[in-house]
């Protein structure tokens, strides 16, 4: 119950943007699954909460496409975890995703932010 309330004011992730967000997070340095969730949460001002049920399939999909690579390493608190690192093709993909996302945002913005007169005309 408490959990659900906490999630209520968090927005759901747009389909397809999750891959971009993960790649962006890994751009700052290698990280493990839990770390990625935390990084996204903190950097979005506690707004974005990635579900583990979406995160791990996404990570494995990215790895299969060769955009990230993984290896087993210890964390600072001595926990063995799988660390993901962005690859060169991953970086190219990120740039591509980013420009596409920007176009989308601009397109949506130009519709949503039109002056109300347009509506009447």
């Amino acid at each position: 119950m408490i959990g659900r309330k906490r999630y209520q004011n968090r927005i759901e992730l747009l389909q397809g943007t999750l891959d971009m967000l993960i790649l962006q997070t890994l751009q700052w340095g290698p990280n493990h699954g839990y770390g990625i969730v935390q990084a996204l949460r903190v950097n979005s001002g506690e707004v974005l909460q990635v579900e583990t049920g979406s995160l791990y399939p996404a990570l494995h999909r990215l790895e299969r496409q060769g955009w990230v690579r993984s290896e087993w390493k210890q964390t600072e608190s001595n926990q063995r975890a799988k660390w993901y690192r962005i690859t060169a093709t991953g970086k190219r993909q990120l740039a591509l995703d980013l420009s596409r996302w920007q176009q989308t945002v601009e397109a949506i913005g130009s519709i949503m932010l039109q002056p109300p007169e347009g509506e009447k005309a």
């Binding site: 493990h32 839990y34 049920g53 399939p57 299969r64 964390t75 608190s77 975890a81």
Partner: protein
């Protein structure tokens, strides 16, 4: 688990650990924020969600979940099949039969028709023969003609020639004397075949005409098996001297492994050179040596265009013939691809027809399998409906059933391979005789490839239909209680009826083929051969002719040998003859007259070509044929007495004309036997089958062996190449053959490698392709009939079970039991009538393919068609009788109470 258990399990464990680590880190973080250990764990787990689901979805990203599913389906299928062993065994046996027959026939087809020749780009090799008034000249072409072709042809890149030495040759190796084939070849033969010696070199050509330089006349090239077996693979064999037929030859080269030429001559082989001499400088028949010719077409040139070019050239070549009669025989040329010459077109057709028959059997087996699967699908309707209701997608159900089909046909294909091996073993002798396959018949890559393909095809044919039917069926009515008589089951039934009708039609087609061949064999077995075949043993002798050069083989080898055999205990009589009737050595002497002129008698004689045999005076006692006029040879016919000959009835007809009186030929001076001596005809014997049972008698002349001396013109031809010893004895062959072999060894060591057989076997072998085809078709037809009867029975039994309630109700309402039985029988009659009708139409078309096999029976023989149809009808009705009886026996109380 899956097909890569180790790797898959490891990745699964890793994923587990990854999620676990995530959980641990979350708990750690929460505890650091001050939550209690228990609270932290509970919260973390709640946030994580359904771990199994996460792992499932993640694994799907790996892209091989389908493999895991296949694994599941496989296990499920095996469990299902184990649960119904009768069904499993029936389907597996049915499919194994079809797969086995097809695999066996394909092994033969692969060996005979698809084998690659051991020559580079062998489709460009052509055999060139001259042709004229009497058709294609089989014995060869003189050197001058070959040279002309070689010089003038542009379409043919290179022309080589060779001569099959008819002698049995003996090579003295490090381990005694070996019997070899020693063809004489031109210098460019290996270049035409585009195969080169692995050691040493080939023969050097004199100029550009293909003949070998005279300095190499005593050179020899060894085949790989000869080099390995006779000389132990001696690395320093080159330039050493070996002895062939007692003469020294210097080893020039060794050919690569697997190479042999001519392809059908058998091995082991060695090659000696053709050095052209004075005899080659003329085009005179019986003077100039004749050669077989093989050419390599230029790339992209067709056989037809090369042939038309050579025909034009031959128009000029033939002008150089001085003798007008010789000229008429060689006015044209005939080209044929070399690989096509190796398998006659009759055999090719025969083989393809048999392969077709096997494929039909396979199709019948698949149809039967599909019918059984449909029946089972109907019985499993509820199970499948439950799976559908629980969320299995249609595709998943189809996949499941397809995998069941695959498991069944995979087991069947393993069994079928075994069956194929057994069949090949059973027919080994016939196959060897017919197709000259000397290697062991085992499955190779292409056979296994075909089997795998057929297995998958069988699985699809058997299971796809039922699977799609099952997947399409709506779930709800199948789940409803007592929903056995649904529309789906009626649709199933209709489909199965069609399948059974198809089966009946195909079986009838096979059975008609089988019936026609059985009639052929029956007719052949009743052809009067003209001689006795019982209790005769035949030895085909390997004659060391070179040892008797300059001596008289008649008096020094043959006469003493036959005298000793005649004195062996248990031998009634023994005789020598160049070749026994129906013999298979392939050696033939043909007698032709040199008559000129244009009177009817002279023209008849010009066209007469007679079989020529030298025989011993004891021959009549061994073979028991009858004389029509005059006498047979006797002990009074010796080298010093008047030379005599006998002829057969067919000869008299050809010599004197159809209405000629047999007696008139007696006393006729036919030909010169040796200087100043002409052979006189003293007898006429009845016609006998010489070449095969199916071919009528040809004109034949026989001379007596004791009268042949080295001075006789045909001495070498009659005695130097082949000689058969025929022995009439009451003793069993297994007892007498070793004794005979020992006796021959003491006469001359090389004779001990002679091959022995019985006259009965020779006759059997001469039925040849018909016999093989009849036996195979009997097997296929019998199997088809069995499958067909099983199919009819299965369907009607299913019908009775499905409709037992209705039948019970009918009986309860007053229907006669015979009416109920008729209800079932009517169904059978309907299927049989339609099936037989379609089958007869099919058979009408396909039996034409058998045309070349048939003897004494027409392809559309109404008796055979009728008899086979009746057989199938009787079999089908017998199969229907059992379920019909069961239908009549239905107890209305029982079935209605079951409601």
């Amino acid at each position: 688990m899956s097909f890569f258990p180790g790797r898959f399990a490891r990745r699964k464990a890793e994923l587990d650990e990854e999620i676990q680590a995530h959980l641990e880190m979350d708990i750690q973080a929460r505890m650091e924020r001050g939550e209690s250990a228990e609270e932290a764990r509970a919260q973390a787990m709640r946030e994580l969600g359904n771990v199994a689901l996460i792992e499932d979805v993640t694994r799907e990203m790996w892209g091989w979940v389908w493999l895991e599913r296949v694994g599941q389906d496989l296990r499920y299928a095996i469990r299902q099949l184990k649960m119904s062993p009768v069904f499993t065994v029936t389907v597996v046996a049915t499919l194994a039969l079809g797969l086995g027959a097809t695999a066996a026939m394909f092994t033969v087809v692969d060996r005979v028709l698809l084998r690659p020749l051991p020559y580079e780009d062998s489709r460009r090799l052509v055999e060139i023969k001259e042709a004229g008034r009497k058709g294609v000249v089989e014995f060869g072409t003189p050197f001058l003609d070959v040279q002309q072709w070689h010089e003038r042809s542009h379409e043919i890149q290179e022309i080589a020639f060779y001569s099959m030495n008819k002698h049995v040759s003996f090579l003295d190796g490090s381990a005694g004397s070996t019997q070899v084939n020693a063809p004489e070849v031109s210098a460019n033969l290996f270049a035409v075949l585009a195969v080169h010696p692995t050691m040493g070199r080939g023969f050097d050509g004199r100029g550009n005409d293909g003949s070998v330089v005279p300095e190499q006349a005593q050179s020899i090239i060894l085949s790989d098996p000869v080099w390995r077996e006779a000389y132990g693979g001696d690395e320093k064999i080159l330039s050493k001297t070996v002895k062939l037929n007692g003469k020294p030859y210097v080893v020039l080269g060794v050919m690569p492994r697997g190479f042999t030429f001519p392809f059908d001559a058998g091995s082991p082989a060695v090659w000696v050179p053709i050095v052209v001499g004075d005899a080659d400088a003329v085009r005179k028949k019986h003077v100039a040596p004749n050669y077989q010719v093989i050419g390599r077409l230029r790339t992209g040139v067709s056989v037809a265009s090369a042939e038309s070019e050579l025909k034009v050239i031959q128009g000029d070549v033939v002008k150089a013939y001085s003798d007008p009669d010789d000229r008429e025989l060689v006015t044209s040329v005939k080209l044929q691809r070399y690989d096509d010459t190796l398998v006659g077109s009759d055999l090719r057709k025969a083989l393809l027809a048999l392969f077709g028959a096997a494929s039909v059997l396979w199709l019948i087996a698949c149809v039967n399998g599909a019918s059984l699967m449909l029946a089972r699908g109907a019985a499993r309707q509820r199970e499948i409906a439950v799976r559908g209701a629980l969320g299995a997608s249609r595709w998943r159900i189809v996949q499941q059933l397809a995998i069941e089909g695959l498991v069944l046909s995979a087991i069947a294909s393993v069994l079928g391979m075994g069956l194929a091996m057994v069949m090949l073993k059973l027919f080994e002798h016939e196959l060897t005789m017919q197709f000259h396959i000397h290697e062991k018949m085992v499955a190779n890559v292409s056979v296994i490839g075909l089997l795998v393909g057929l297995t998958v095809a069988s699985a699809l044919l058997c299971s796809m239909w039922p699977a799609i039917a099952a997947a399409r069926a709506s779930i709800e009515p199948a789940l409803r209680q007592g929903g056995t008589q649904t529309n789906t089951s009626r649709a199933h039934y209709r489909t199965r009826t069609l399948l059974v009708v198809a089966q009946i039609a195909m079986s009838l087609t096979l059975l008609v083929g089988c019936g026609l061949l059985l009639r052929t064999i029956y007719t052949l077995r009743h052809v009067p051969l003209g001689f006795r075949t019982d209790h005769v043993i035949v030895a085909n002798m390997t004659i060391p002719a070179y040892k008797f050069a300059g001596r008289n083989m008649t008096t020094e080898l043959y006469q003493p040998l036959v005298d000793r055999v005649n004195h062996m205990p248990g031998v009634q009589s023994a005789t020598l003859m160049t070749e026994v009737p129906l013999g298979t050595t392939g050696f033939k002497m043909t007698f032709t007259f040199g008559d000129k002129g244009h009177s009817p008698a002279e023209l008849r004689r010009q066209d007469l070509a007679a079989e020529f045999r030298a025989v011993g005076p004891e021959m009549q006692r061994v073979f028991g044929f009858s004389m029509l006029k005059g006498r047979f040879f006797n002990e009074g016919d010796t080298a010093s007495s008047q030379p005599v000959a006998i002829v057969n009835r067919a000869f008299v007809k050809a010599y004197l004309g159809e209405d000629g009186d047999l007696g008139k030929i007696l006393g006729e001076n036919l030909f010169v036997i040796s200087k100043g001596k002409r052979a006189v005809v003293v007898g006429v014997f009845d016609d006998e089958r010489q070449v095969s049972v199916a071919q009528s008698s040809r004109p034949e002349i026989e001379v007596s062996i004791p009268q042949i001396t080295p001075g006789t013109g045909f001495y070498f031809g009659a005695e130097g190449f082949v000689m058969d010893l025929a022995v009439r004895t009451e003793q069993s062959p297994s007892l007498i053959i070793p004794e005979l072999r020992e006796l021959m060894r003491s006469a001359s060591p090389e004779l001990s490698t002679s091959t022995f057989t019985t006259m009965g076997q020779i006759v059997e072998d001469s039925y040849g392709s018909q016999q093989l085809a009849a036996r195979l078709l009997m097997l296929f037809g019998g199997a088809a009939l069995l499958l067909c009867v099983a199919g009819i029975y299965g369907l009607l039994a299913y019908l009775v079970t499905q409709r037992s309630r209705e039948l019970g109700l009918r009986i309860a309402l007053g229907a006669q039991r015979s009416d109920v039985a008729w209800l079932v029988l009517r169904q059978a009659c309907w299927m049989l009538t339609v099936g037989c009708g379609m089958g007869l139409m099919l058979a009408y078309l396909t039996s034409l393919l058998l045309g070349t096999f048939l003897y004494g029976v027409k392809p559309h023989d109404p008796w055979t068609m009728g008899a086979v149809t009746i057989l199938l009808l009787v079999g089908g009705l017998a199969a229907a009788y059992v379920p019909a009886r069961r239908a009549a026996m239905v107890n209305p109380m029982e079935v209605l109470r079951a409601e």
